[in-house]
Structure formats: structure tokens, C-alpha cells
Symmetry: C2
Subunit: 148 residues, 2 copies
Amino acid sequence: MEEIIYHPIGVVENDFWETKDPKKIRNSKSFLVLDPGYLPALQGLERFRHLVVIYHLDRTPGYKERVHPMGDLSIPERGVLATRSPCRPNPLGTTVVEIVAIEGSRIEVTGLDALNGTPILDIKPYEEHFDSPLGLQRERDPGYSPSD
Amino acid sequence: MEEIIYHPIGVVENDFWETKDPKKIRNSKSFLVLDPGYLPALQGLERFRHLVVIYHLDRTPGYKERVHPMGDLSIPERGVLATRSPCRPNPLGTTVVEIVAIEGSRIEVTGLDALNGTPILDIKPYEEHFDSPLGLQRERDPGYSPSD
């Protein structure tokens, strides 16, 4: 199939150079440092609390058909597309993060699961409608509530 | 910045060639038709009900700094990164979908917001932990419940 070419819009800045303790990464602050050229494209972001961040897992060891989920050898191997492993065909990562502060094209967040220097490809406002099973259910049945 | 090159792992198959009625698309069935070479990478997917699908918005009109959200001219223009518009710097789309059936490397889903022929870049099991504000909150405070 054809090639699809993207250009990073920025880079992750935080204190983590390796994935030793993912919980610690997510509970720490990270910065989405976007190219200042994207400043006009960010206008209005302040109205949202959560973002979906899409990034390039640049430190992946490469594609593997099957992996132990979370690198845990005690869990049987599984197809990589049935895990969140970075060893996927296209090493794309996504996490939902919370915005702490926006300073120009530098966005401070918590909850990001990405190492320092990770190239950022896209950020989107989190919308329950597109980004959650609940939103999907409500698309079908607008009156749906989880307590039904 | 550098170029990042991806290769589609498959293509969307459904009855929609244009975005006239997004609600109708999401409530209809779509197929994620993956290259059969990825069959081993799919093993274990049957244990999940929801997927995050990442795709290339190949019919984007191109990058625009500011857009009317949902193309609605009555809503003031906003920076494109503060919307879900396809006119983003890297035209990546994501939706959470529900698995209806898996037949080999052909996955039937509902909830997808993508047109027929859209190149698929990645699929991941939906995990509340990474993919929702609630999971983020629970990462901080494992005992957190929305009713707190």
C-alpha cells in the first residue's frame, strides 16, 4: 500500500527518558511543546479540559506480530494489535490527558504516557461522543444513561 | 522537522462516499478490512468489545489554521487543533468503535466515523485507563468513583 507522510507538530518535554515506571510518567507533568507556527491553530483550546494526544512512538523496538502484554512474561503472548505495545505496524501512541495550563504554543498536561522527546503528530479536544463507548451508545440512543 | 512515514494496514469498507450525515455513518456497519498478513497480529482481539481506530483522513481539503467547528458557519471560527475538523496539520482521525464480528482479518464494527476507502493506520483495544478522563483520574486516585 501507499506511503503516508506526516510531519511532527511538536515534541514532548518531561523528565522521562525510559519507560521504567509508566504510572510515574502519567502522574507527572509533561509539556506539549508545539511549533510556534501553530499558535493560530490552537486558539480556542482553552475551553477544553481534556485532549487526545497522538504521537509517534519513536523508541519502539520495531514491529512484532505477537508480544507479551505490558512486557509481562507471565502473560501469554498475544497479537500486537490486541495490545497497547509500541511494537505495532505503525508505532502510533494515543493518551487522553488533562490540560493544566496553556502558555502560547506550550501546553502543560498530566496523564501523558510518552517519553521526553517524543514527536507529537496531533492533538484533539476529547469528545465523549467520538472517544468513548458511552458516546457511541448515546449516538444510537440519545437518552441512554449508564444507570439504565 | 523530520518526516514520519506510515503504511496503511488496511482500509475501511462501508456504504459512505461523502460526509453528508455523520450520524448515519456511525450508526451503520463498517468493516475494517486489514491486510491478511496481519492475521497473527490480531490474535486475542476477540476478548475486547471496543477499539480505538486511527485512520488517515484522505479526503481532507488540506490544512487550515482556523475553521468553523463542524463546518457550521453560525459557529465562530476556531483554531483547527481546538476542533475535530479534518483540516488539521496531520490529517489523523480517531474514533472509538464497537466490535460486531471478527472474520479473519475483516472486522465488522459500528460507531466508526470514516468514509469508504479510508486508509487504516492502527487499531488498539480501548482501555479506560489510557483513553478516558475517568481512567486518568483513577491513575491518580485508584479509589476514585464518578459519584464521589
